[in-house]
Structure formats: C-alpha cells, structure tokens
C-alpha cells in the first residue's frame, strides 16, 4: 500500500469539499440553525401571541367567576398575553345551552368560553370550549388562575391564612453536587447533565451523518463521471478507499471542532458549566471511531450505488442506526453504570453514542473505555476488510446496482 497515494487522495477529498460554499455555510449555519430551533419558538411565543383573547366565563359557582375574571384581566403573568373576560352567572340548577355559546364562538364574538360548574371545589374540573384547543400558554395561565381561585376559596373556608399556606406548601430545593471518580466535587444539576449528554450525542450523529453523506456522494460522482477509472489506473482500490475515509473523516473532525468552539463560546456567554468539557478528548475519540465505523460500512455498500436515489436510500438506511441510541437515553441517564448502559457500550454501532452519553453523565470505569474502544476498532477492521471486497467490484459497476445476493457472493469470495 502506498501511503503517499492515500495522503494525496485524503488531501484532495478534504480540500475540495472544505472549500465548497455548501460546507462553509453548513459549518457556520448549522449551529446557528440548531440554536434558532431551540430559541425561536420561545421568542415567537413571547412576541407574536400578544393579541387580546376574548373569553366568556359561564359561572355556576357564584364565587369563582368574579375572582377568575379579575385574575385573568389583571394577572401580572398575562402582561404579554392579555385575556379580556366577560362574566355570566347562571344558577347551578339551570341547564346550560352549549349550542348558544358555541354560536357565539362561531360568530367570532368570543375566542373561547369556560364553564365553571357548581362542583368546581369538589371535583376541581371545568370545561373549556374554543375553535383552538392547542394554545398551551392560554391553558397554563387559565389553570394557574383557576387553581389560585380554588386554593384561595378553600383557605378562606378552612380559615387558613395565606402566609401559613405558603409556609406549608413551599417547595423543597435540592442543591446537587457531583462527586467525580477521583474524589473531586463540583456543582451541577440534571438539566446541565442532560444538555451535555444531548450535545455530545448531536455532535457525533451530525458528524457521522454529514461525512457519511459526503462519502457516498463523492463515490457516486466519481463513478458517474468515470474518473474512477483514471484513479484506479494510478492507485489501488484499497488506497482509494482509505484515502476517502481519512479525507472525509478529517472534514467531519473539522466540523465537530468548529461546532465545539461554537458550543464553548455559547456556554461562556450563557454561564453554562459542565464537566463534559473536561472529557472532550474522549468524546472526540468516540466521534472519530463512530465516523470510521459507519463510513467503513457506507463506503462498501455506497460503492454499489449507481444513481443519486440509490445513494440516498443507502445513506438513509445506514444512518437510521445512528439515532437508535436515543431510545436508551432515559435508561442511561437513570443509571449510567447499569446493565443496559454497559451492554449497549459493547454493541459496536451503539458504542460511540452510548459511551459519549455515559462520559457526559458519569465517567465510566477506564477498563470499560479501553474494552469498548478495542471492540470498536476491531469492528472497524472487519468492516474495512468486507467493504474493500465490495468496493473493488462495486466501484466499477455501472447501470445496474449489485443486488444483496451478489454483494453476499462478493463478501464470501476469497479474492
């Protein structure tokens, strides 16, 4: 094997892809878009839903209606979410003509109407009618207000002062401190752990997916414009395969490092602190191994693709496996050293994500890190051996894609 050939191919793949506008945009825009996905809904909720909602309160309790109306109209929490109420008292024994109220909604005289039944105190239930019942923020305000009305009424009935009630019902606050395996301690909380774990998983999945797609596309391009024959007249198929794997792996790494820098800047700005930053080398090691694991499969199967559609199908199918670790995330968060976490750590296609997640929550035993790394490296070696066989034939097939039966025959062949 000629190392210079591998280096030249890797350099070409890296430089040519890295200087494309699409890559540069994805490098910068992806973290921005990801951030926007998290921040934008909140911004929209707080800015767009400022219009006044007209709500009719049909009160059968004769105590809750007035209080609720006052709360909704003047509640501080509704500053950005004004509700204008109209109150209608109805005798508890009178049956309510729902149709007449729904007509008011249809006629756009009200946005919603609430029925506060006489059994409100006992059953703690009320009815809400509207054309739109998916407005979460409205319900949140309503629920809080009605709960306050009920609580205040009950306190008054039982002659308990509000300050006494607050003393009784105030929440217990927990101060979490993380003990590291070396005995050091640091402040932390579940949310921080979750964000750290989620972030590391996202970096791995996006690196693997992005580089994997580029790999298959690059193969298809070279096949369809027949440059592959010129390359193979200069280098061996194995050299070509390694060159591509390494070149695009470096591209993925560049992407991962850039996003990490974005993440660090964002965490400094937001004051977010996590132990995960101390374990970044390990997470990157698993990210790189994860890339090589999936890329070593993709390069073999992907070399058989003859059309863009086939390439997308192949990439899509293989990449589905990268999101499987999300199924185990809650179990791993619950017990990062449990049986499920340990078993999953040794299943090669899960190893990169599961180990990164475990490292983000609680650094596992170093023996587990070593064994899982060796397992992954061995799996990559097997993948490379199998893919090399498929690659050397798949890369020269045009027009008709190899079937699974044909691929199986190639894999079993001795040559």
């Amino acid at each position: 094997m000629n190392i210079n050939h591998i280096f030249q191919i890797a350099k070409w793949e890296f430089v040519q892809k890295a200087k494309t506008k699409a890559f540069i945009f994805s490098l910068v825009l992806t973290p921005i878009i990801m951030s926007l996905f998290n921040i934008l809904p909140m911004i929209l909720m707080n800015t767009i839903t400022k219009e006044t909602k007209k709500v009719l309160i049909v009160d059968q309790t004769h105590f809750a209606g007035n209080a609720l109306s006052m709360l909704l109209d003047f509640n501080k929490e509704t500053e950005k979410h004004t509700i204008k109420t109209t109150l209608e008292h109805i005798s508890p024994n009178t049956s309510i003509n729902i149709k007449s109220y729904t007509d008011l909604i249809i006629q756009d005289r009200y946005d919603a109407f609430i029925i506060l039944p006489s059994s409100l105190l006992q059953k703690r239930e009320y009815d809400y009618y509207s054309l739109n019942i998916s407005n979460i923020s409205d319900f949140e305000v309503l629920e809080k207000s009605i709960e306050k009305v009920i609580t205040d009424t009950l306190l008054s009935l039982h002659k308990i002062s509000k300050s006494t009630f607050q003393d009784i019902s105030s929440k217990v606050k927990v101060h979490t401190t993380k003990i590291k395996t070396n005995g050091d301690i640091s402040k932390g909380d579940t949310l921080t752990e979750f964000i750290g774990m989620y972030g590391s998983l996202l970096i791995i999945i996006m690196m693997v997916t992005f580089s994997g797609q580029l790999l298959v596309r690059s193969l298809l391009d070279e096949k369809s414009n027949r440059i592959i024959e010129i390359l193979l007249s200069s280098v061996s198929s194995i050299e070509l395969m390694y060159g591509k794997l390494i070149g695009l792996g470096c591209l993925g790494l560049l992407q991962g490092i850039t996003w990490l820098v974005f993440g660090l800047i964002a965490s400094v700005i937001s004051g977010f602190q996590s132990d995960i930053f101390a374990h970044i080398p390990f997470i990157f090691m698993y990210a790189i191994l994860g890339y090589f694991y999936y890329a070593s499969i993709l390069i073999g199967i992907g070399s058989t693709a003859t059309t863009e559609q086939e390439a997308q199908n192949i990439t899509g199918f293989i990449m589905m496996f990268t999101i499987i670790p999300f199924l185990f995330m809650m179990v791993i968060m619950d017990n990062p050293s449990g049986t499920v976490a340990i078993v999953c750590s040794y299943i090669p296609f899960l190893t990169p994500s599961i180990m990164s997640a475990r490292i983000a929550i609680q650094f596992p035993n170093i023996i587990e890190v070593i064994i899982s790394t060796i397992t992954l490296i061995l799996s990559i070696s097997i993948n490379v051996m199998i893919s090399a066989k498929i690659f050397s034939i798949g890369i020269l097939t045009y027009g008709k894609r190899l079937t699974f039966k044909e691929i199986w025959i190639i894999v079993r062949s001795k040559g």
């Binding site: 040519q16 414009n225 027949r226 024959e229 010129i230 200069s234 280098v235 044909e406 190639i410």
Partner: protein, 305 residues
C-alpha cells in the same frame, strides 16, 4: 517491450447470472516506440483487456510483463479512458496537479509538464478555470494532458479523437506520433479503422474475447486478400465475356474493372498466361485491402461460422 500473454477473464457465473468470458487467451506484444491499435466491436473485450493491463482488474490467468518483468508499477502507464471524466467543479490546474501527483511525487516536474502541455494545446489561459466552464474539446485536451503529465512509458488511449473537430484530430494524431518517436509504447483503442491504419504500426483485433488478428499492418494485409488483383479493361464487351477457371474468383468492381483472387502466389504466373488472351486489358495491379475490409470480412465470417 510490453508483453501480454494468455490473459483470461471470466466474470463470475453466480454473480452475473450467466458466465461471461470477457477475455480468452489474449496475447500480443507492443514494442516501445510504436503504436498498437486495438480494434473490435462493442463488447468484444477491449476494455476488459485494457483494464487488466492497467491493473484495474485482475486477470484469472495469464501475465503482463515489461521487458520480462511481471511486477509492473502503475506509474508506468498513462490512461485516457473512452468515457471522459474530470472533477467539474475544480480548476484545470487542480485536476492536473491531483491526477499527476497520484503518479509522480515530484510536483515540480508535474508543474513543468502541465505548463508545457497547456502551451502546446494552446489552452494556457484556461489554467484557473473550472472544468465545467470548458468546451468538450478543451476538456478532452485536459484529459489527455492528465494522461501524459507524468511522462509515462506506456500510454493507453481509448477513442482519443471522439468529439474533436478535424483540426484538433490532426493535432492529437501529430502528438501521438511525436510521443511514439520519443519511445512511448502507445495502445490505441478505436472503432475508427481508417485512423488506426493511418497511425498504427501494429493491430490487435479482438472479437468475442479472443484475438482474431494480430500483427503489423503489412503482415495483416498479406494475411488477408494478398493474392487479389484489380484488372482494368479498355473494351467493355471483352470484360463481359471475361471468364477464368474455378481456381480464380472474379468480382466485378465497375463497368471496366474486375478483381481476381487466386488461392496462392504460385497461381499468379498461371493467371498472367490466362490474361494474355485478353487484348483490351490496360492495367493489372495488386489489390491492397483496407483494414476496414479485413475487419468486415473477419466479423462476417465469424458470424457465419
């Protein structure tokens, strides 16, 4: 000398449903400083043979050697495939440097060579242009430069003139002949038999995976129709009455011309004696068959057989 000996390649039966013999005992030699034309129909086995020579495909059996040495370094070859391919979004310079660097480590030689050939093809101004911006003819020139930029010892060109205008075809032909004179062995794959006849020193005809014709142009002409003679008559009436015995085959070419074929050289004197009875014969000349007619004869006889 490049020696190709008994190359065989069969594509796996179970893999491709039916067994395909792409090459069967392909053998031929090419001297350095000569052009060898490989001709044959589509699917005859030319590309498979070329791919085996280049090391893209491994032969099932047989050998390829250069001056008796079987271990061949790929850098010795330059290759211009039939289906042209370059990186469309990259510049001319980037393409040539990359493809050259896969063959040769010394970039200064590659750069010098690129500049020389760009100048030679009069396309130096396109150096920093993307391949996609170039015309088909200019892309072909770049592709050709890519195949010779590392100073190969053996150049394999597959249909190098397709898509070229007549002027550029002449330029390409001149360059091939020039490269031959510098000592390169050139394998020239083509369907254009006239061009092959023009520039090739030897021909290998592959038909249904086998070599059906191999030798220098002169040898081939001798081998086929070498005892045919064109006879021109002054008197058309005499031509109409012209007959010979069964040992001679007569083809009427035009109103005053026939072609007579005899089975071997020894019959020529006999033929002359017979012709002496005809007073209106004005010329007798040996018929030199074109490669196309030989090719057509071989293909049709194989089909009949």
């Amino acid at each position: 000398m490049l020696r190709v000996q008994k190359l065989c390649k069969t594509f796996n039966t179970s893999l491709f449903q039916k067994s395909v013999v792409a090459a069967e005992n392909i053998s031929f030699d090419i001297e350095f400083g000569s052009i060898c034309g490989i001709v044959g129909q589509n699917g005859a086995g030319k590309t498979t043979t070329i791919r085996m020579i280049l090391g893209i495909l491994l032969p099932d059996s047989g050998s390829i050697s250069i001056d008796g040495i079987e271990h061949i370094d790929k850098t010795i070859f330059g290759y211009l495939p039939e289906e042209r391919g370059l990186y469309k979004k990259s510049t001319v310079w980037e393409n040539l440097i990359y493809l050259g660097s896969l063959k040769l480590k010394d970039k200064s030689i590659i750069k010098r060579q690129i500049n020389y050939w760009l100048e030679r093809f009069d396309i130096k101004e396109y150096k920093n242009r993307e391949i996609a911006e170039l015309s088909k003819g200019n892309q072909q020139k770049i592709q050709f430069i890519a195949s010779i930029v590392h100073n190969p010892k053996i150049l394999i060109v597959d249909e190098p003139f397709s898509g070229l205008d007549p002027l550029n075809q002449v330029l390409f032909k001149d360059i091939l002949i020039e490269l031959k004179k510098t000592g390169l062995a050139i394998i020239f794959c083509t369907h254009q038999l006239q061009t092959a006849e023009e520039i090739c020193d030897s021909i290998v005809m592959i038909h249904q995976g086998k070599v059906s014709l191999n030798g220098t142009i002169e040898e081939i002409r001798h081998q086929y129709h070498s005892y045919s003679y064109n006879i021109v008559f002054d008197d058309n009436n005499e031509l109409q009455d012209f007959t010979l015995d069964r040992t001679c085959e007569i083809h009427h070419i035009s109103t005053n011309k026939v072609r007579v074929s005899i089975t071997d050289k020894t019959k020529f004197t006999e033929l002359l004696q017979k012709l002496s009875h005809y007073q209106s014969i004005v010329s007798i000349e040996k018929f030199v068959p074109s490669l196309l007619s030989i090719y057509t004869d071989i293909i049709s006889s194989k089909h009949i057989n």
